[in-house]
Symmetry: D2
Subunit: 400 residues, 4 copies
């Protein structure tokens, strides 16, 4: 059956030429990111266990769940979490399948705790967090089970929904991602004072870029206000250095502008995340699956994290459309901006979207075959849609 | 102090002239909408009580919370909810202020229960739902308290964040909103079989519009499969009639395409919402504050519902930018599409955004003063930003 | 099969002739009594629904559950509950039986809420209490199902456990029960200021009886400290009057001895129960099934409330042994004190206890047939053990 | 002030000469014992932290809390817990004191998890259990704070309540305690198949003792039904050997009489406690503070575990009366049975009970000074009541 693919050229000022651009990233320790990471960890653990026990991934959705903030009293040299963070795992998962019972609740709790332990090094797993579980019981439609090997039938869309992706990243988007990586991979390993709940807000006004960061400091590594002020200064320089290295534009960096150092009101934490003292988090409220929040770009509201990777459109189409956009931009010359949307209709095979739509912007003259080429890539990638499922299960795809 | 306002003309194919357009609405009984509605109801109840007791709105944020699905066994003529829906209220609220104690938890539970009772007529409040509360205790910064009368100082942004709005609504967006209103105001009152958890997904491909609706039927009003099929047919005709009346384009309507009537697999419910049996909901995962999910339009990820209306950017700037866009389009001729973004920096007065940016698209020649006029409206509305707070408290502004 | 019945005469100072005697009652609104009452209400509602749907009472046990105190700010004229009481329903119940699904969780929540509404008139069910449910799923052994009519097989003991009863009530025990009834039936209806969480502690030293009562006052009916002091005085007189009418012994009455009126530290409440502000309650921690805590008498630790009435020894044997003791004392002359113990062994028919033991004290010469008569009554009542089940289901037996 | 002490001789058949005697012990892994152990561990951890931070033990009560059973699928060779055990910590604790904040919730969660880890070796703390906390906030009355050193004032009774103790242990009581110790100290260390949730029910009929034990086997050490049957046989012999060594009476031992080996219905577990699959537990529902449930003996309904050791009568008087009884029996000749009761009145100093009553049974002629001697010991021990508090905090006193 022929796929309903639409490729359209938009006459549009490319993002880089617009005067104003905003983009944002909530890094790994942000409460919303924690919720996303836990949800995805639970889904991955379930998928692996299902494959191990049943030789098939069974239906589940864990794309919900709540991080309820605790209370803490940080202080220079080391304070305390006084009320544990409370994490509620919800969603549902198939528990019984062909005579086997899968300990879904136990798996979920373990996966969440493991994820937290790896992600929040300074969270005391024995006293600073409560992981609770109210997961429901789902059931598996045999049509839509993903077998480990062999001829899987094409699953049917679980919902009428859509996924969206774009490429390439703008200058600003790139910078934000690079700064995030730099902090995680280079700065924090040598400077444990830097917490993980960093938020990077980027604003480009013409050729001037302002990066506003919230950076929590970890109190046990911060002996005094001087240490704090030094750390703020240091991280500011690091950010500026990396950001400036990515662009010719002017970059201004602002760190913790909400601080009032004179009043002792600063972003000091015990564990490096504001979830310890006031900020709740939810799945799907933070970054899209490309790692960013990009209000100038088309976005899907669907949470990618935690959804089952077999037939959940909100996950598969978001991941796939992002990959399609990237592949097109890499392989086809002359595209300034490309937006890919995949829309499903509940109950239809997922390789046959209700519509697959690409909109491209190309100011320069570009290859005459651009539309045909985009069409081909979309068609090809839809035919191979099962590989998304496989790679999600192997943990190869980021979801936030 | 002069405001940093930027108005920019974009060269861009207006949305109506793009080949493909997608938009969506989750109606009042959708689990995500329930979560939004509860969050906002709690915030409004707190605000009113604060004013009553303290003559000021104190800090609070209830823009989180989870609707955990129950289990049900619907059947023709009337079935049962077998496991209650579980609703967790989180967030935080100021409990003690100048010697007074506000019963924040009790207020939150009551507001949530009242909201549910009004919204889900067929939910048995005594057995089908559990409303739990794990709200934390916040504290009020005296600078940012909103007094009922008198000279309020301008509050300071609680976060580095942004709000976004657009106008006018496209043909497709309009249709979706009209269909939603028609079902709520005209169809359901006479046809109680129609549940509230309607989801409307719209796709426009050139001049053809496809509306795909999921419409739950309520079992006590549905005696047989014939009744169900009739109701599906009836609602389809109603939708088609209303939608066609709003547009010259061709409209196709699809209702409950996931049903398999032959297998008895249909969208039958006890209470009219899928929260009774499988679908969880979260605050901020559904409609933006204009009532829609519009992936082709710039959107903010911030939940508008439940945030405090004093200084929470994610609420105030989303509401204000939407109003600014609408006012501009109403008062200034020749604008095809207008996007307004307001970006804050934590700790700065909220009437002084880091940047207020408007981007407009105008294919025809439009008034030479358009940019100046937009600028004026933005400036004016920012100066009057406190009126947003007032109207939210009075319940005059929709948030989802 | 012959029953293992042992009747033994003890040489023992009867309780009335001992110098010291202690007994206690936690009245209807005490947190432990609330927990008991809820547990039993849930069991009864389940039993009724099981009979209605399945024509048989299925296995369940709801003899657990916790009343977690809220927080309140009582004040003269009327205060507030500021944090709702949290009630956790646990235990387990059979959900699926011969193709039918019983909405056990929904039934439990409804029964608990109904019970609270009836018992605590001034508890606002919409804001002062959260009823949560984490009941597990049990399964029904067909052998031990109780059919509404027809020849029920004798169920098998679910546990190795015992029940205990005594008769007659001592002077002190009698007084405590009468005082409790008088307050509930005569005093409170006309004096709504008197809360339900009354605790009556009785001490008899030779011929002097001291009754120490904790009596919560309800703030909305208490306009001032004078009102409070008056109410304390009034209830003290009422208690003294009733108690003195039951005995020739001297009676002293002490009300709220922990108060410090001068410091404003008194037992004032919003709802009439200390569960609103500090005292948790659990099933089985309060009165035994005769309505009393009697440390001088043999007692079972088993909670009677909430256990299934089919085969749960901790319920059936406690109720039955109390009835046997009472019947013996009523029908046989000359018994001063009688203690009946029934001990089961798991898996054995409940009408065949491992041992049924009666110990009687008779100072005066009593009938030579006393042992034979007791034996007969025990044998008879064990043969008719199913009637206990029936009467529990009909709500005719008190459990606390 | 002279203490109100009453010593009375009872004419009574001593327990050893009664025909029938029942006693019971729920060993360490029984759900009720787990609840007790957790409650006491939390109280001890709080007390220690209070002393460390505030140089005083502050008010708290954690004598509530619920162990909600999980679900498991044990199987020969090793099965799984499929739904984690859920543990709810409740009660209340002073959080703020003289400018210091004590992280009470975090301490409670940690103490509970540590206790579980030590007690249930085969419970996977990362997946088989959820420890949740809904503890309230108490406040400390400065009068009743226990300082680490120096002249502590005598605290005031928190309630009108009583404690009870008896001595010496009967033959049957002794045997039960010895069997329990033998299993814990000698059998299990070498035979890890033996779970900790052992229940020992003892019945003495004249000179024949029947011990009925429920003994869970741990599946990972049990490869087959033969292994199970062997283990049951083995433990039966061990129990018989130890029990027979303590008494001249005839001893019969019954293990897991509810098993139906032919149907595969046996007491096999994953972790060694029935809390994994069906049995809930509560504080204060199991053993009294002497380690036993003794329905023929006077007992208090008060939970000893988890109560604060400063002024909570339900704890202090239970522990003290048991010690007094033991000391009297050890130091004074000729007492067959001794019962000690201490009754408080709320608000009065705890070293001045409303009445301290001893009842002794002595068939043989005993020393003429026996009443005076008992009186002296009671007086002395009441004068030294603070030492109970100290020893509880040091963890020297068992509470269940």
């Amino acid at each position: 059956m022929q796929r309903n693919i639409s490729v359209e050229k938009l006459t549009q000022t490319p993002i880089e030429k617009q005067q104003i651009e905003i983009a944002e990233r909530k890094c790994i320790g942000h409460p919303d990111s924690l919720a996303d990471g836990i949800a995805e960890a639970v889904s991955r653990a379930l998928s692996r266990k299902y494959l191990e026990e049943c030789d098939a991934v069974l239906h589940h959705n864990t794309d919900q769940g709540e991080v309820v903030a605790g209370e803490s009293i940080p202080k220079f040299g080391g304070g305390n979490v006084t009320r544990p963070i409370y994490i509620l795992l919800t969603g549902r998962a198939t528990k019984d399948f062909q005579g086997k019972t899968i300990p879904t609740d136990a798996i979920a709790v373990e996966a969440a705790r493991n994820y937290l332990r790896e992600t929040l090094q300074f969270l005391d797993m024995e006293r600073d967090v409560i992981v609770d579980c109210r997961m429901g019981v789902g059931s598996s439609d045999l049509r839509d089970v993903f077998r480990a090997c062999g001829d899987n039938p094409v699953p049917h869309a679980n919902d009428t929904s859509f996924g969206i992706g774009h490429a390439p990243f703008s200058d600003l988007e790139n910078i934000i991602l690079r700064v995030s990586e730099h902090i995680d991979n280079n700065v924090r390993p040598k400077n444990p004072i830097i917490g993980t709940d960093v938020k990077i807000m980027g604003l480009r006004q013409n050729n001037e870029i302002n990066l506003t960061l919230c950076v929590p400091m970890i109190d046990r590594f911060c002996g005094s206000m001087d240490d704090y002020v030094d750390a703020v200064g240091f991280i500011g320089e690091e950010v500026k250095k990396v950001a400036s290295g990515c662009t010719d534009r002017k970059v201004n960096v602002w760190i913790n502008t909400g601080d009032r150092v004179d009043k002792g009101s600063i972003f000091l934490t015990v564990t490096g995340t504001s979830a310890e003292m006031g900020d709740d988090g939810s799945v799907g409220r933070g970054n899209r699956c490309n790692g960013l929040i990009t209000p100038q770009r088309p976005m899907s509201m669907e949470a990618t994290s935690g959804k089952n990777p077999i037939n959940h459109i909100g996950k598969i189409y978001n991941l796939l459309s992002t990959e399609i956009a990237t592949q097109c931009v890499n392989e086809i010359d002359g595209i300034d901006d490309l937006y890919v949307r995949l829309l499903s209709q509940i109950g239809k095979p997922i390789d046959q979207p209700f519509v697959a739509s690409a909109q491209y912007i190309a100011e320069e003259e570009c290859s005459t075959s651009v539309e045909k080429d985009i069409n081909s890539i979309i068609d090809e990638r839809l035919a191979d849609i099962a590989s998304i499922t496989e790679r999600v299960i192997r943990g190869e795809l980021k979801t936030f």
